[in-house]
């Protein structure tokens, strides 16, 4: 793969978003762990968020498709078991994108106040520990009364 750099591939892969939260890239989510260029192929290393996350299949397809659009067809996608994914791997850019999209980003376990992503109020109540996907919980804002998803802290 002469001339191709991992940096270039990473830039291309910014286009691959989480299928469930289409505003955050797999890189900002922490799913994309590494890109290596060997003589024969591009090696892409990814980790699952939750063990049973069905989005992993879609993500692999989209990585292949994105790289194919840039003329790269020799791609080896490796699904790793380590490191275990946790929400600290989500970048600041990813958290900001999530909040704009209406999902309260994860906060550390010690800081329990979950802000409403709509109005910023700290008066919020957990309605259900599981929201629209395994990685989210369902909350309601007691100030603006809007329900919202909270991306759970997972560490």
């Amino acid at each position: 793969m002469s001339g191709l750099t991992a940096r270039q591939v990473l830039a291309w892969l910014q286009a691959v978003k989480d299928p469930e939260i289409p505003v955050i890239s797999i890189q900002d989510l922490g799913v994309l762990q590494a890109v290596e260029i060997t003589n024969e192929q591009i090696v892409v290393k990814i980790i699952p968020t939750y063990s049973g996350c069905p989005a992993m299949y879609v993500i692999q397809d989209e990585i292949r498709q994105t790289l194919a659009e840039h003329g790269q067809h020799e791609v080896d996608i490796q699904l790793l078991n380590t490191p275990a994914w946790n929400t600290d791997m989500i970048t600041a850019r990813g958290r900001a994108a999530m909040k704009l999209y209406g999902i309260a980003p994860p906060i550390s376990a010690s800081d329990q106040v979950i802000q409403c992503p709509q109005c910023g109020s700290e008066k919020t109540t957990c309605i259900s520990q599981f929201g629209s996907t395994a990685c989210k919980a369902l909350y309601r804002c007691e100030s603006c009364l809007e329900p919202f998803d909270y991306f759970k802290c997972h560490a």
């Binding site: 939750y50 049973g52 078991n81 380590t82 275990a84 259900s128 599981f130 395994a134 759970k152």
Partner: protein, 250 residues
Amino acid sequence: MNQDLYQFALRLADTSLTMGQRLAEWCGHGPYLEEDVALTNVSLDLIGHAQMFYQLACDNSETSTSPDDLAFLRDVPEYRNPLITELPRGDFAYTTLKQYFIDVYHLHLYQQLSVSSDEQLAALAQKALMEVKYHLSRSEAWCQRLSLSTEEAHEKMQKALDDLWFYTPELFETDESMQRLMTASVIPDMGAIQTVWQQQTEQLLEDCQLAKPENGWMATGGLVGEHTEHLGYMLADMQFLQRAYPGCEW
């Protein structure tokens, strides 16, 4: 050692798969929408754990096999789960209490397995542990809510406990193969896990004002492939597609 690890990985995977399959039966039948979603999300995690542990089994298998083959092409006597996980799902109280017992079991087992001398097993246990903690906080809260609410709910929880209690000691059974793994520090002392499991669950039962049933018949058989009739029906349902259309993918 490989053969022992293969067998133990099957024990873990079969336990998670049968739990996950029973929870998936709640899809569309949960007591209300949010709980329906929660039950199936936990199911999804458990099936994910099963897939990881089946892969571990494949990596330690003497013959060429895949996680799908292990899940869909083995028959009842080859399954290694304890009997409790294959029992019919029952009512919501029954499902909740069974989930709590298994969550506490998984919590302590995976905590210890995450320092296993086998690096791959340790990594998988660490991954599963993060999810199990969350499952436990949910099942524990539900046990309290149901037991300490109406008379009817309390009665249903007590009935579930009377039915399930004698299936729990089997979770900690070992055989020669597991004992070799214990000696090699690949897996923890199951007796020690049982002690902490008992302390924790008995405290909750007390908090929930549930009466532990008197000692009686104890379930056994999963480790040697002797199962209840319920597993056969479960597998018939779960494996139908692969049996009818071998190699089918979608």
